[in-house]
């Protein structure tokens, strides 16, 4: 079964600095999707970035980028120029490629990011 592991329960970063959140996963599939979701205290889960496993290029969305290492099954999130509004719980998630076993998202346990002014 697929699993997602986030080994950093909490992280802290100074405003305007860069922080990297780690995620590893396990799957026997060759095609799949990976996601980072942000969950602020309001609880609304917001998509930050997604990566298709068949794409070699790392996804980037403004200040957010990923380091996708398929062979190592690693998917880290880098947040550049951190802002106070980035403070939230961040979840890494996996999903089978269409036609796979399931459409469900499998989440890690999350990393709570604090941003210090």
């Amino acid at each position: 079964a697929q699993t997602v592991t986030q080994s950093q329960p909490e992280m802290s970063v100074q405003e305007a600095e860069t922080v990297t959140l780690s995620c590893t996963y396990d799957t026997s599939e060759s095609d799949y999707y990976l996601f980072w979701y942000k969950q602020p205290p309001s609880r609304q889960m917001i998509l930050v970035i997604r990566q298709e496993a068949y794409k070699q290029q790392n996804a980037t969305e403004n200040r957010f980028s990923v380091n996708f290492q398929k062979a190592a099954k690693s998917f880290s999130l880098k947040i550049s120029d951190s802002q106070l509004g980035d403070a939230a719980m961040y979840f890494c998630a996996y999903r089978d490629f269409p036609g796979g076993a399931t459409n469900k998202l499998i989440f890690g346990t999350g990393t709570l990011l604090a941003v210090q002014p």
Binding site: V4, Y33, F35, Y37, S42, R43, Q44, M45, I46, L47, R50, E52, F91, A93, P98, G99, T102, N103, K104, L105, I106, F107, G108, T109, G110
Partner: protein, 114 residues
């Protein structure tokens, strides 16, 4: 609508009571998912609908949990004879239903069973 909506936002139930949680997905979204998020944990999958068909209910923890989406739009998650271990945030997500679609989440319903 503009996003996924859920009601109520908060629900307090006495042990043994039945509860019903509502999810209104984004208009036109074919797929709908329910997740359960315990305190301090990541969401865990409960069930999945494609239109009105419930294609996957492998995550429902017991036969006390029941979900429906009779007209392929609004969905209701019902929990019968609630237990304290049912206390959690229940998240609903919807997606267009295409091959590479993204799931969009609602704000969740926090259920507390006393």
């Amino acid at each position: 609508g503009a996003g996924v909506s859920q009601s109520p936002r908060y629900k307090v139930a006495k042990r043994g009571q039945d509860v019903a949680l509502r999810c209104d997905p984004i208009s036109g979204h074919v797929s709908l998912f329910w997740y359960q998020q315990a305190l301090g944990q990541g969401p865990e999958f409960l069930t999945y609908f494609q239109n009105e068909a419930q294609l996957d209910k492998s995550g429902l923890p017991s036969d006390r949990f029941f979900a429906e989406r009779p007209e392929g739009s609004v969905s209701t998650l019902k929990i019968q004879r609630t237990q304290q271990e049912d206390s959690a945030v229940y998240l609903c997500a919807s997606s267009l239903g295409g091959g590479s679609d993204t799931q969009y989440f609602g704000p969740g319903t926090r259920l507390t069973v006393l």
